[in-house]
Symmetry: C2
Subunit: 405 residues, 2 copies
């Protein structure tokens, strides 16, 4: 290979021993690829510690200064990692996000990368240096430091891999890859060898603890092949790439669940045009994201509208919806926090009919009641009672044959 981008998360550089381990992996990779670019996060809990220090000073820290503060974490990691590599006799150089030419917009603490001008990186690669870049940070047109928000280091790695036309972007983490479901609730969860961008996007959107959607979207846009793998073993990880024939043979690739949802219903809403638009318009205006929506006719001239949203938004949403329900002369509002969303995902669904009915059959056989259903081309989600979630995940996981390699 010509160029590999390697990304190490905070847990992979949390202390001197782990840092040296990362250095060894980087040096080993230098034999596989001519050029290596490494992206690093802040060590361990440092970001949380810095946030805490700022909270001791004020409960509303200025966002520009927050970025100035938080950017120090990655800077410590790149300096120590470059030292560790050089101490082992290899040539290396560290760059902060701004030095590396990662340009971002003005949205402090949640900036978007606008462009990458990798002149310094290219020059150092030409000099046969291993290039270490601080993840999570960029520079805006004002020459201020901006940070990219949660998952920002993944984004830096994928965007750099795209800009540098890397052959591979390796995401090192403390697990060995992406799993068919959460191993903490299902013993037979298996590592997945190959996933398409669309599948992992659906997984990220349905509760799985995988890479964040915006990194995947950038990877998809620039056709960056990602491998999610462990910093601490030599196993192959999970390859995430554009959809290929072999992926379609797998009907369902993963089962995910999300316990952080709540359901809200407006009962007996008069059936006149524009009612739904008013309800969801009011929620959107307050920044509340709604997931599933079901409208059903309870009796002539009246509808029930139910929808799911993040539990964290429930209180805010209830206030809005109660006020609206009164204005719209609905009969009432009910809500349920004890729900879970269970989903099955797989690009094979596109060419295999009957997957949904199989899912409903499996759940019904377990005596699990389905409250709401939503589907996409490659995903089926059901809202069920929270208490049934683990049982449902295990039944679906084995029912779709994911437990065996």
């Amino acid at each position: 290979m010509n160029l590999i981008v390697m990304k190490f998360g905070g847990s992979s550089v949390a202390n001197t021993e782990k840092l040296k381990n990362a250095a060894n992996r980087i040096i080993a990779n230098k034999k596989k690829a001519k050029k290596i670019v490494v992206v690093v996060s802040a060590p361990g809990d440092m970001t949380d510690d810095l946030i805490q220090r700022s909270e001791e000073i004020t409960d509303k820290p200025a966002e520009r200064e927050m970025d100035m503060l938080l950017a120090t974490g990655e800077q410590i990691s790149i300096a120590l990692l470059a030292m560790a590599i050089k101490a082992k006799g290899h040539s290396a150089i560290s760059y902060t996000g701004p030095q590396a030419g990662i340009y971002a917009d003005d949205s402090h603490t949640r900036a978007r990368i606008t462009s990458i001008k990798p002149e310094k990186i290219l020059k150092s690669l030409k000099e046969n240096k291993i290039v270490i870049v601080a993840g999570f940070q960029g520079i805006n047109t004002n020459e201020d430091i901006t940070t990219l928000g949660r998952g920002g280091s993944d984004l830096t790695a994928v965007a750099l891999a795209g800009a540098l036309k890397a052959d591979l972007c390796e995401i090192y983490t403390d697990v060995t890859g992406v799993y068919t479901t959460d191993p903490r609730i299902c013993d037979s969860a298996q590592k997945i060898d190959y996933l398409s961008y669309d599948e992992i996007l659906e997984m990220a959107g349905s509760g799985a603890q995988v890479m964040q959607a915006r990194s995947i979207e950038v990877a998809k846009k620039f056709d960056v092949i990602i491998e999610v793998k462990s910093s601490f073993t030599n196993e192959h990880g999970t390859i995430i790439s554009r959809e290929v024939k072999k992926m379609e043979e797998v009907v369902v690739s993963s089962v995910t669940f999300d316990k952080h949802q709540a359901k809200l219903s407006i009962l007996d809403l008069p059936d006149v045009p524009g009612v739904a638009a008013r309800v969801f318009g009011a929620l959107a205006k307050k920044g509340i994201n709604v997931d599933m929506i079901i409208q059903s006719s309870a009796r002539d001239g009246f509808n029930d509208i139910s929808f799911t949203l993040a539990k964290a938004d429930l209180k805010k949403a209830l206030a809005i919806v109660r006020k609206l329900a009164k204005e719209l002369k609905a009969q009432g509002v009910s809500c349920d926090e004890r729900i879970s969303k269970v989903s099955i995902i797989g690009i094979g669904m596109k060419s295999h009919p009957g997957v949904a009915s199989e899912m409903f059959r499996i759940l019904s056989k377990e005596g699990i009641n389905i409250q709401m259903i939503s589907t996409s081309e490659i995903k089926i989600s059901c809202i069920i009672n929270e208490k049934d979630a683990i049982k449902a995940v295990n039944a679906l996981h084995s029912g779709f044959g994911l437990g065996k390699k």
Copy 2:
């Protein structure tokens, strides 16, 4: 006043409480001066902690990466301090050394400031913002971060005060000013109200724990008026400025001592031209600084040469000198680590004769033997036995009337 530069050392921003105290002082000063620029060091022990982390990785950390690492300390301080000021309702903005336009040379970990391009600072001052600048760091022509070595934040403050033509550069510290001698060994030590650049330069060079010589040299060059004062009281501190008439009235302004010196003697060296040049040339080539030198004729055709140097260099110097003594057919080499240098300093000496003889009289009255003497226009130093140092300092301090205000 139009513009004040305020510098806070690490102990003044070591924790949240101290940081808030610094913020209060800055805000209070904003009423005294239209414009405020603040220079800050890394919090408390952070620099030492980072050095230790690098030492866990390698005993020879790459210097460029060391600067990348150490620069994070000041960056944390400026972000938190700007937050603290903004939280109190005042407008503030932080800049790293590179952002502030502090250009330095390529000597990583001990760079010299080459120029200051304060465009961003001037723009922010115009917007009525309190400007917070990271001390100790700059940027070289390669856009790498460089650090300025020990006392680097003082240097940043003084250089900025010079470049911005500040009315005053306040150096905040944990003592109330510069003292007539070390209060730890002399109860009657007094804070000095006014000192000239030359006096404090001599003090720094003769063992006093005051500002480092290179900051003073920059202040002298650009005529920056410095006030050394406490972060924790409202007392006036010590003003350091160009020599003014009133300073000359004080014959001796301080008594200093240095316990970190050693004496080395070469005995019975044949008195031929070029011998001294060979000895001191060899030492200089190895980077060993020699302080006092005395050459005396022991017997016809032979000389003794004695000189003082830092104790830390003694072992290295002994090896060089022993080899040379053999080559030059000297009779032998002796050394003494149990010496101290005691000095009196004052620009009033220039116009008051007889100060040296008064010093010798005071020491002799105490039964203290003088081993070596050296003088400058405003300083007289004596090498004495280490055991007599405290007695000598106290006798000189009271003998020259420094104990009373």
